[in-house]
């Protein structure tokens, strides 16, 4: 039984002054959205999620929509336990796999095979399980001999294939996927869809952030709209 419960979750980023370079960068990365407010002292606080509450259970596949900087990626990271809320609570049960940033967790100098291995270990798979899964991962990526080549030679679509294959082979109970999903070609999206449907029918949770209405319609049975850090569930009516 997988579940994911957000109870009044608020996430604020402290953005410190003084460390000039890093400060500028962090401001730029949140500059396109979020609520900027000047707290007393020199600490700038960005409210990335504002009192968010919802409950996800087995079989839910959620599409996240919202403008750039609305907090979609922050919400995914909070679901994964990477960002910790300053108030409210997040309870989750189930094995989590993430596909948030393209190329994350990959070493560009190492080959595709070595990266499958590393990513798999980090996602909690054992050596033996990985050996067993390797043929099916190989087959799913359709990368063939490219798996011998260093990952730096891969296109974004190829990276996506590799990461998706590893993240879903783990039989995750909660799968969190960001935007970049769209980089795969049509053939891959069909395959991914089949695998997703398999996961969803096995009563697992799937959360997917995207700007593509088509993809969301294809994959999701619930839709959350994010706006400046607050979440509203919309009924599936948009065309």
């Amino acid at each position: 039984m997988a579940h994911l419960i957000f109870d009044n979750v608020t996430i604020k980023y402290p953005v410190y002054n003084g460390a000039a370079k890093s400060l500028k960068k962090s401001l730029l990365s949140v500059g396109t959205g979020g609520l900027l407010s000047k707290a007393p002292g020199d600490v700038l606080t960005v409210t990335a999620l504002d009192s968010v509450s919802f409950q996800l259970d087995d079989g839910d596949s959620v599409g996240l929509i919202g403008h750039n900087g609305a907090g979609k990626t922050t919400l995914l990271r909070a679901m994964a336990g990477i960002y910790i809320p300053i108030s409210g609570s997040i309870t989750s049960a189930g094995k989590i796999s993430t596909l948030i940033e393209l190329g994350a967790g990959l070493d560009s100098e190492l080959s595709g095979y070595e990266n499958i291995y590393r990513l798999g270990l980090l996602l909690g798979m054992s050596n033996i399980a990985l050996e067993k899964l390797m043929p099916s991962i190989e087959e799913f990526t359709e990368l063939g001999n490219f798996l011998e080549a260093p990952v730096r030679t891969y296109s974004s679509g190829m990276l996506m294939r590799l990461m998706f294959a590893v993240s879903t082979s783990n039989q995750p109970e909660i799968l969190l996927v960001d935007e970049m999903f769209g980089t795969g070609d049509k053939n891959f999206q069909e395959k991914a869809k089949a695998r997703m449907e398999g996961l969803i029918s096995a009563a697992k949770i799937f959360v997917f952030a995207s700007h593509s209405e088509d993809l969301i319609k294809k994959f999701c049975n619930r839709i959350f709209e994010l706006n400046h850090g607050s979440v509203t569930e919309v009924t599936k009516t948009f065309n």
């Binding site: 980023y13 402290p14 410190y16 460390a19 370079k21 890093s22 990271r77 994964a80 336990g81 990477i82 960002y83 910790i84 989590i96 993430t98 948030i100 940033e101 190329g103 994350a104 967790g105 070493d107 100098e109 190492l110 070595e114 590393r118 270990l121 980090l122 996602l123």
Partner: protein, 274 residues
């Protein structure tokens, strides 16, 4: 109504607990950290015939060159100088390697930290293990030099083991603390980079503290001198002075306690700092 004191105790205790949780979770990743560290070492020397033995060669070359030069410059007997210089240089490589890399470790691993939930101690284990592997290779140079110049086996040489354990335990808290500071304040890396050469001259690598006619206290004001002595003296066949052990153990206890509390307090912020 809770008194301020009791509240402080609760806050400190929960920070300590949270820090310990991160370390314990990290230790569960020990095998994976070793696998990564080993892979990184191999990857760095891929496409070269000697592989990781390049490091050994470069250590051997610097030992031969510096040993020859300094024994003439310092008018010291090479039989005394070269072995102690070799061990000193190898231990210095370990210490400075870990300390210089530590402040940027979370920044360099940001793509992991922001995407996969992992204990932070995992990355520092990887750093320490990578340098342990390098040390393992460099031991060849030490063995060759010490057998060639050395006075044979002595019982004191068993003290190498507690010495190395103390060095790595101290490095563990130092690197965790530096890694946190380095992710919060980006200039920590540059500051450390500027201080380390100074520390080199203040540490007993080229000379032994007893050789200094004046100001031995300055050498013992450098915390790294203790860590070097802990490993070097036993290899050279003498037990390190007792105060070296006392200072190292005290530093380990206080440093670890402080660092674990800081880690517990800030581990939920680190991903925001990156």
């Amino acid at each position: 109504m809770i008194s301020k004191n009791a509240l402080l105790k609760v806050v400190l205790y929960s920070a300590f607990r949270s820090g310990v949780i991160d370390i314990v979770l990290g230790l569960k990743f020990f095998n994976i950290a070793f696998f990564f560290a080993w892979g990184d070492t191999k990857a760095r020397y891929r496409r070269s015939i000697l592989g990781p033995w390049w490091m050994v060669l470069s250590t051997a070359v610097s030992v031969a060159g510096l040993g020859f030069l300094w024994s003439m410059l310092l008018k010291d007997d090479p039989v005394k100088l070269v072995p102690s210089l070799t061990v000193g240089l190898v231990v210095w490589q370990l210490l400075s390697g870990c300390i210089i890399e530590a402040p940027s470790i979370f920044v360099r691993n940001a793509h992991f930290i922001r995407n996969i939930k992992l204990p932070f101690f995992f990355f520092l284990q990887q750093l320490l293990l990578r340098h342990l592997i390098i040390l393992g290779h460099n031991i060849v140079v030490i063995v060759v030099v010490v057998t060639y110049f050395g006075t044979g086996f002595k019982v004191e040489q068993f003290l190498i083991i507690p010495g190395l354990v103390l060095v790595f335990a101290n490095l563990a808290w130092i690197t965790v603390l530096l890694a946190m500071m380095g992710s919060r304040f980006r200039d920590v890396e540059q500051i450390i980079g500027a201080i380390m050469p100074l520390m080199f001259f203040l540490s007993p690598v080229i000379y032994r503290p007893s050789q200094l006619p004046f100001a031995q206290a300055i050498v013992w004001a450098n915390p790294l001198s203790y860590l070097i002595t802990l490993v070097r003296d036993p290899i050279m066949g003498s037990a390190p002075p007792l105060f070296v052990y006392q200072v190292s153990i005290l530093a380990l206890l206080i440093g670890s306690l402080f660092t674990v509390c800081q880690l517990g307090k800030h581990r939920q912020h680190i991903s925001f700092w990156l």
